[in-house]
Each structure stands twice: as C-alpha cells, then as structure tokens.
Symmetry: C2
Subunit: 311 residues, 2 copies
C-alpha cells in the first residue's frame, strides 16, 4: 500500500485525501496555512458521512478518517511518501517553489503529481533534479465523486512514473486517462471549451435562450454522455459504426462548424447570460445549489455503480 501525501488542503486536497484513504492508503496532509490541515480533518469527517449515506464507501466513515493525519511540516508529510498529490494555488511561482521543496524532501522513487488544471508539468518541473518524477494528475472537482483523472507527463517524465501513476489511480477507483503530449487545457477542458464557445455564440446571436440551451444537454445529449463518450455515441448512431457515421454526417458537420469564427466574450454578452441565469437561479442560492450538484453527482455515481454491477 503506497503512502500518500497531500500538499494543500483546500476543496481538492481534501477530496484527494478521501480518495486514497477510502481505498486503504494512509494519508498525510499539509497546508502552508497553519491550522488548515487540522481543520480539513473536520470537513473530511462530514464529507465521509455524506458518502456513506449515498453508499459510496463501504467502511465506517471513522475507519476511513483514521487513515488521514495532519502533518506539521511539508517535510513531515512527505516522509516515506510514495506518491504526493499537490493542490496549491494556480500560480507558476508558487508551483515552482513547492516543487523544489518537495523534490528535496521526498524519497527518490516518490511520484510528485499536481492537481493543476492550467500549468503543464514541464513548466513547474524544469530544472529540478527529480523532474523525471513530476507529472500532472488533473482531477475534476470534486475528485472523490467524479472519477476521471488526466495524467499529463512532461516530455522528460519517466514512463515508469506514468505507469505507476496510472496503476495507483486505477487501484483507488479513479479513471485515469493519458494526455500523450502537453496541451493547453488538457483534454477535458478543451472539449468543454469547444462546446462552450458554440453555446455562447448561439446565445449571442439569439438562436436560443440560456435555459433552453441547457435543456438540449441535460435532457438530450448529456444523458448518453454520462455513460458513453462522444465516440461511442456516434459509433452506435450509425449501423455501420464510425465509418458509416462519418460518411453520413461528417461532411455537413464540418461545413456547419468550419464557417464559424468565435469572438471573445464581451461585457454585453457576459451580462446577458448572467441575467438569464439569475432568472433561473438567484445568486443567493449559489452555495445551496453547489451542494445540490454534489449530492446529485453522488447519487449518479451510485446509480452508475448499480448499473455496472447488474451487467
């Protein structure tokens, strides 16, 4: 059982602690804010009870909780660690500093993985003696509910580090995918961006309302995409598979998108979309709705597990 260190105990760091602890790993957490790691333990207890309620953990919450401890220093957190998941602020200077500290403190074979969603591993690991053991392991918020993890190695990340990261994430029940070459936004956020650019444009040019566009996804396309990807979806949408689909729809699809040029989201458009959303959900319900989203995600994961068990 690999020993895990969590650096940075905000929302993402706490979620990672639970991911590893519920799979049986011992976890040491550290945060540069003095009491943050200790306070994180309380929030983790609450979150574990909620996961228990949704059937997402089999053990008692306190059994899982007992595997997690708060460390007083980064060095203490990394002592004997086999894998570090780093979750500090999205700033290059901070990442560089913390990676230098981690590279100095961790034992040689320890993997140093970052939760960053925007900074390539080559940027924060360049120049480190241990740059071969640095990698991005980008989760979706919150990773204790949403399983995908984008593994994005730098050009110099050792193949063995990629392989061990992938194996570890699979073992703890996450779904790791490999980003073979560094790219801005990795895979998931690029796919989101592609859809969003078109969504914003359709509203800007007044083809539909914000609320109606959301319905086309949540009551339409998003249903399939919650248990099949876009490639499996189109493969099954033509009797002859991908080639058949491309022959039927590829040309029209290319033509319809190729003619589009996107513009930056300007203040007028941002204001229009904000106003339409505020009619659907007043801003004062934001936190409450976030909690609703996380409950729905947990229930959906429980549903998907139930379906997988039946198959």
């Amino acid at each position: 059982m690999e020993k895990i260190a969590i650096i940075g105990t905000g929302l993402i760091g706490r979620a990672w602690a639970m991911v590893f602890a519920r799979a049986g790993h011992t976890v040491k957490m550290w945060d540069n804010e003095p009491d943050a790691a200790t306070q994180a333990l309380t929030l983790i207890e609450q979150a574990l009870r909620e996961q228990k309620r949704f059937g997402l953990i089999a053990e008692e919450p306190q059994t899982v909780r007992a595997r997690i401890t708060a460390a007083a220093t980064l060095k203490e957190a990394l002592f004997e660690a086999d894998y570090v998941q780093e979750n500090t602020a999205e700033r290059i200077d901070i990442k560089k500093q913390v990676y230098a500290q981690m590279d100095a403190a961790a034992k040689p074979e320890c993997i140093l993985a970052s939760s960053t969603s925007t900074i390539p591993a080559s940027v924060f690991s360049e120049g480190l003696a241990g740059r071969h053991r640095c990698i991005v392991a980008h989760p979706v918020n919150p990773p204790h509910v949403v399983p995908v993890v984008e593994l994005s190695p730098a050009p110099w990340t050792a193949p063995d580090v990629v392989a061990r990261s992938r194996a570890l994430h699979e073992k703890v029940g996450q779904v790791p995918i490999l980003v073979k070459k560094e790219i801005e936004g990795f895979i998931l956020n690029r796919l989101q961006a592609a859809l969003l650019m078109e969504a914003w444009r359709l509203v800007k040019e007044d083809y539909c309302s914000v609320e109606d566009l959301d319905k086309t996804i949540k009551d339409g396309l998003g249903l399939r995409w919650s248990f099949m990807g876009p490639f499996e979806t189109i493969d099954l949408n033509a009797p002859g598979g991908i080639t058949d689909y491309a022959g039927r729809y590829g040309g029209a699809m290319y033509d319809s998108m190729n003619s589009v040029r996107y513009e930056p989201w300007d203040a007028a458009l941002i204001g229009k979309i904000e106003a339409e959303r505020r009619k659907v959900m007043p801003q004062e319900q934001h936190a409450e709705r976030e909690a609703w989203r996380d409950r729905r995600l947990m229930a959906l994961i429980a549903h998907k597990r139930g379906m997988a068990d039946r198959e």
Copy 2:
C-alpha cells in the same frame, strides 16, 4: 385531448406514438410501406413492456397500446387530427410531397410537425397554403426515452402554432426548446458537432486515444451535463457566477480554441478511429450494444425522475 397522427412508422415514428399514447392521446399511424404501420404495433407492444419494466409508464402496456391504431391511408390517419408528427426519409423531395398531401388532408387548425434533423421548415413548407402551421419538432433518438424536442419554426410559422406545439410537448412530458431562427443542425447537433470536431482533432494529432477521450466525458464532464446544462455547470464553477467564471477562464478558453482550425475527417483518420473503437467493441456487438444503450438511458431517466421526486 389532442388527436395525434404519426406519418412514417420507423424507429422514430413508433417512439413518438408511444410518447403521445402513454400521455393518454389517441394516435393513428400511417406509413407508405403497406404493412409497416401494422407491424409497428407489435414492436410498440414490446417496447411498452420494456418501459413498464423500467417504471417509465404507470399504466399497463396494453392500455397504452390500445390508444394506437394503424390507418390504411394518410388521409385516414389525419382525419380529425390536431397534431401530426411526420417521420419520413430525410429527403427534401419526399418531405415536400408529403407536406403537400398533409396540408390538403388535415383540418385547418391541425399542426404539421416534422422530426427532421437536417431540413429547415422553410424548405419543405414554402408554397403551401398552410405553411403557417408547419414546424420542425426535432427529437433525439429514441424520443420515448430522451425528452428534449427542438422546436424550429420557419419565418412564417404562426406564433400560435409554436405556442401550441410547446404546450403539447410539455403536457406529454417531453422537454421542448425553441430554436428562435432557422440554423443548420439546430442547437443540439451544433453543440455535438463543436465537441466532436475538437475530439477528432485531438485524436488525429495524437494527444490521446479514442477510449481515453470517451472516459473524459463519461467519467468526467458528462456526469454534470446529464442533470445540468453547460451554462449551469460554469455558473456553479465560480463562486460569483457567470461573470466570475468568464473573468477567470474566458480569456484562456477563447485563446485555446481560437487558434484551432479544423479539417474534414479524411479516410486515414476515420480508419484510425474506427480501428480504435473496434478494439473496444467488435462490430458484431453493435446491435446488442445499442439495446444496452437504450436500457441504460431508460434506467437513467428513471433515476432522474426519482431524484426529482425527492427534491
């Protein structure tokens, strides 16, 4: 209770018959193939039993089935009909011909709606005396499971026809959305196309495998999108809502997509994606996997209804 006519009794036509019949409407079906409408009744019986098994209909399948009859002629199907859902082949000449026949046969206030996914209402209704009562009501396959319906009026479609179509689809439990102006692909398929163009490009340029890309959606983004749309998703992803999100991520998102130019899907790329899919799912499992998809969709809809009831 509106009387419904279904013209064309393939997969989509049969699904529509069930949508209206399970909501209590009487439905008359006609197909230009001599025995198709009668054979459709047998398939509908099977499909209704499956919906019963997933808890998607409250009544007995035979009660719902009894509201559906096969008509011998188009004229008989349209006799006294208040709403026609047309599901003939995706060919302009066929649509024009059948719309002329329907416009002649239907009573004046009857709505003539098309399931077309590619032909704007202005194209097949131009020149008809009753062009004001023609509209596209584009479903997602299969509409008895996936609720969204894109209502896309022609410039001359009467506002009252749009309003009555919307009200009818809401009443039968579908989720109608309004496409305010005609546009190729309507809304849903444009959003799918935007994501697919980027997905194909990422595989072409070897950033990830087909299987891994599918995982980023089904184990990541697609989870949220199955119960929230893309706008609600980003609204909740920044504490201050849409404006906050646009300020944090809008610039980078625009830059990352603006630099991309897409190319038509060539034979080599189609072959590559087909080959990767065939490793995950052999072609001989295609029909079986389609049935699996529809069962998963039904189970997901049942799950979503359960969650909505709890809230």
